[in-house]
Symmetry: D2
Subunit: 387 residues, 4 copies
């Protein structure tokens, strides 16, 4: 029942499959007057797009969005925004031999169980192709956060296989570090520890040659978010952020702050302590929660009681290795007969580089949603005349 | 804005604070005719209640629920159910000295930032006391799942500090193993590996003596859930389960199946393979997804593409060490002055034993919700005459 | 499925039946800091309560509310508010003979069709008793509108049978005119045209003697609502107001502004014209929509394109005659046998006087909801520091 | 905030303006396997389209829909459906002189008040052009109701000015009577009383010549709806239907059954009585609510306690005269200066003929929504294996 909508005040609704005409998103609740153009959308769509480097899939989709509604003379109108990203490189024939076969790790089997049939040309609605719509909506959310708060959301690849990035201050990572190497060339792995990134790329190249894939983990950081976002019980900020990240394909785990590391910690070592904020201090607390108070450490990942504390919000997501493999794998047909399957190229050996813009988008959408939700509560007495 | 409601088809709305008159839940969407009594509710409320053993807080709250609406002659009526659990042992005076002090790790600071003031007698709405309402609703969800599907939800303590349980088959753990030792005495730690449980208890006793607290992790397993629950994009079953668990106090991480372990795995080792289901086979696949097909392993934790696969659903949650400590901790007052704080007894040295019924409740609520959501979709052609 | 919640930003969820322990409402989304006491609630509950005059039912229910959550030291906390109104005068035995009989005009038959059984002691969830919860929530909404905007919602009885009130300026009717006669005695009919009201009372007395009931219509006016409330398409203000009024028992029709009168009008006679607003003008435009502009007439009932125009919002609802009658009526049993039924006293001969506070409550709830919804949109850039 | 979504289980979300690229609807919650083609959509879009006869506007828009998602090989997939209807005949230049002028009766003024600016080329989001998206969604809802229940929704023009249709049995009106005259030629007025329809057409022709417009009323009837749809309190079927109709442009009043006529009735004359259903009886009760029981009359309009009774659901909506007039009207500019305005042709002299498919669509959407909502509740025990 109706599971294609996300958010309350900033609300997105999507439709679209991998092999249909295209993917569309309706964004509802965006305030009037925010500048928005197709060019804005293209930036992150290009970071998500296939074929962007030799360590991603070689499918080539231009992902040119069309704004169908909600923008007039370059500004949002306050009414619902619709964006369409057409599918161009569908190549249905590539998928003919998977028509009756349940690809391991994919949703073919569960779709058949749920719906009785499925779009056998590919993942259909379960394909990561649907994330184009999310990434487009994420651009609008990022813009809103930036204009309202000067806030930003930056994601990066933290781990590929056993190679982990060393990042002392996640809240100081810039998008430039994520997107470019020191020489200005593209940082195709999106790891801000460029030395680790080089190792990750080598590992991915090795895995690809062996017709296999590899998992990893991503970190997403939001800075400039003031204290007060999130609701106390079910709609805790951590809960909505977790749902957002888990709603992305291939995510098997999410943690924030110290995360699973808390299981072995004592309270005395775990608690962050409230301390006076020093004059001019901008990091790790870029926005004062309540003037003059901050915490000396950020094991709490920027959220206490599910409400933002003013410190950077820091999340980590585990991403499984790509399920589609050039290697032959045993499986079953929908008629219950054993069969083997192998993917004929054009799949990502590692999902992480393209996962970053998707994860950023979902985090930005949750934060924009909670920001607007809170705005209504805290400004309920403001005079109607003022805009 | 309005964050006290959870679920769509099986929908709960709660209110209540630690030091107010009580906690109340309205459960909407429960089908008519399900047997329900106060005694049913008491079972899990007693598993959640403080003072149940020497390793939990010694506060003593009877937690006797009253069914205010929605039940007639012992059966649900199909209309909204309301349950009230009054607060009895409030002892406001215990909390007098925390009136102006931000307790480390608590929501005092973020509540002040969000609302401008707070119920200074305790956690108020951020207190884990609000979970009484969830646990009561969870009983109704469990009953629905049991009556409709024969499904069950069992949680247990997997880890306390560095002590981890060895559980070869999580899906075979019974509630009896979790609640009782071999000799029938109460298993106060709720770990089905009784040897590990004994070590956990010793660790908690040690931590308590040292006026400290300790973190841990819990596993929650749902069996008997058929393939097909969950929606493809935002309302993936994994996403709603993660939101549910993260909405509980103290949860810093959630994973399912192989979880964060996937980051270092290759696709060829990670994918579960579809295989024929053997006659009479009941484990690990207790419910056939599609007749005759299952997977040989369950690294996917019972969900593929965010939709249940028919295999046991297996989740893990990381729970931080209790923030309130008898040990003295430095902090600040709301006026920005440094001060120290220590909790005068009566707090849990480890949250895990009492976390289990809360986590089971939230998992059951999500599954009941998705089951009802799916029922409408798959039975839309059924004749109106039949009930 | 889950139909006991109303509103988005100001959201109420209710439970309760006529013959259960009581009725409860959870109000979610109320900003922090609004003064609220039990005494505030009692005012409107007393206007709704049975037994308030000789022209209403003689059942006597005290309707004393208890605030269970969400209020601390006399102010709303920003978290969910719960209010319980216990049932006191249930007298189940009065209803014994209606156990198997479908009362004409009631929901007995449709409840059996929907749920397979029903609370046979009375209307159960379909009883107007559930409106106690709405009236309590309405008090909170009225307070919010008053504090934020100086706005007020006033309802009155416009018509009983063929007796219609003559009210030249609905927007100028005060609550005092509705509640009191010139001599200060209670205006039990709640018609501000006291001469017409006297005729209505006589008509009701006559109908009562003849063991019958009579229908009527109510007008509800909201003044002080600024231009801008309501969303352009589905959540038009008129649409949400209509849903709110139709959700009340016995309402068969709703119109606003010129209403059904528009069917015979020409556009040239129907359109209200925009004109300059005169200095100091307070009526009919009590709040300037956009400085200096208003309309010279208000056939549009304060809403254009479903969005408030700044002029008074004027609605009318048709209320059917009470279905329960002392007169004998033919009907059927649930086993399909013909039977007659008569209600043994204690029902309202005319629903209108007690309908007024219910209708005011629902209108106030919609306006509070849309006000908060809009606040988030128009104040999204406000600095986080300011509260 | 987010007001572009309607429905819960059958949920539509729309975007689009009169002068943007097009209008789009995402339909969520549609079960898998329902046949759907572009040709199905075109039928009702053509009934809504401008330029269809000499008594409607002469704008000519082809309204050719494109199914962007959710349909595979001619059947719904169970995932979200997206439909795009591009705008073709925008003629922006026609609207140049209304840029700064508030058209009487339109939303120009309230949009400026709400958003601070507006798409000055036309109605933008407030234009009835957005109903193309609703009509497309209505086709899917009608198909679902037809396939699941054999139910149908038929609307017709009941009144134009003072000309009223005489229709003894609204539940027996067929779509053919509404769409065609006896000789097979198009019934351009959509009134099943063809004699009255001829008078309506003459009235409209007269009004058009006089550069004016005229109001009217429409009746919408749903037959084949079983007893049991609707929720007891807020989501009463009558409440959701009223919201649906009031959400359409130009609707000022809605009633069902006896409607406002109830105000002057006595209970003894108003109540419909339950009687045995005669063998083979098909009208007015086309579907047995509970076998063997029906009512002898249908003043209750097919809903009791807000829940369908199995009798035909009968609604009436008042539609105001078109606000845009060729006649010169006085108004104001957004700068507060008086100015006159006249619409240069191409607007409907009477909205009713084109209103019918819009109203049918909204009624069908509500019924499909409540049908799916109920399906989940009444089939919650059905075995998972069966589909």
């Amino acid at each position: 029942m109706a599971g294609n909508t996300f958010g309350q005040a900033f609300r997105i609704t999507t439709a679209g499959e991998s092999h249909g005409p295209g993917n569309v998103v309706i964004i509802d609740g965006v305030p009037a007057g925010i500048p928005l153009t197709v060019d804005d959308l293209v930036v992150d769509l290009n970071r998500r797009r296939p074929g962007q480097s030799h360590i991603t899939t070689q499918r080539d989709e231009a992902d040119l969005p069309e704004i169908l509604a909600g923008v007039f003379e370059g500004r949002t109108t306050g009414t619902s925004i619709a964006i369409l990203i057409r599918n161009t490189d569908q190549r249905s024939k590539d998928y003919g031999d998977i028509k009756d076969v349940y690809r391991p790790g994919h949703a073919d089997f569960t779709f058949d169980a749920k719906y009785g049939f499925r779009d056998y040309r590919g993942g259909g609605r379960s394909s990561a192709r649907e994330t184009t719509a999310r990434v487009a909506a994420g651009v609008v959310a990022k813009r809103l956060l930036s204009d309202a708060l000067g806030a930003r959301v930056v994601g990066y690849v933290h781990q590929v296989g056993k190679v982990e990035a060393q990042v002392a201050h996640p809240e100081e990572v810039t998008q430039q570090q994520v997107e470019q190497l020191a020489d200005g060339s593209p940082n195709i792995i999106r790891c801000p520890d460029h030395a680790a990134g080089a190792k990750m790329i080598k590992l991915i190249e090795k895995v690809r040659k062996e017709q296999d894939s590899i998992g990893g983990a991503a970190t997403i950081v939001a800075t400039g978010i003031p204290a007060g976002l999130g609701e106390p019980v079910f709609d805790k900020l951590k809960a909505d952020l977790a749902k957002a990240l888990f709603s992305l394909p291939a995510v098997l785990g999410v943690e924030y702050g110290i995360g699973f590391g808390c299981a072995t910690m004592r309270g005395s070592a775990h608690n962050d302590h409230f301390v006076p904020r020093r004059e001019g201090e901008t990091s790790p607390v870029s926005i004062p929660a309540i003037d003059g108070i901050t915490t000396n450490t950020n094991r709490h990942g920027g959220m206490l009681g599910g409400i933002s504390s003013g410190l950077p919000i820091i999340l980590k997501a585990a991403v499984k290795p790509t399920s589609s493999l050039p290697l032959e794998q045993p499986t079953m047909t929908s008629q219950g007969k054993p069969k083997t399957i192998r993917t004929k190229g054009r799949h990502d050996p590692c999902l992480l580089p393209r996962f970053i813009p998707m994860a950023e988008a979902m985090v930005a959408i949750v934060l924009a949603d909670h920001w607007l939700r809170w705005c209504g509560q805290k400004n309920w007495k403001s005079s109607p005349g003022e805009r």
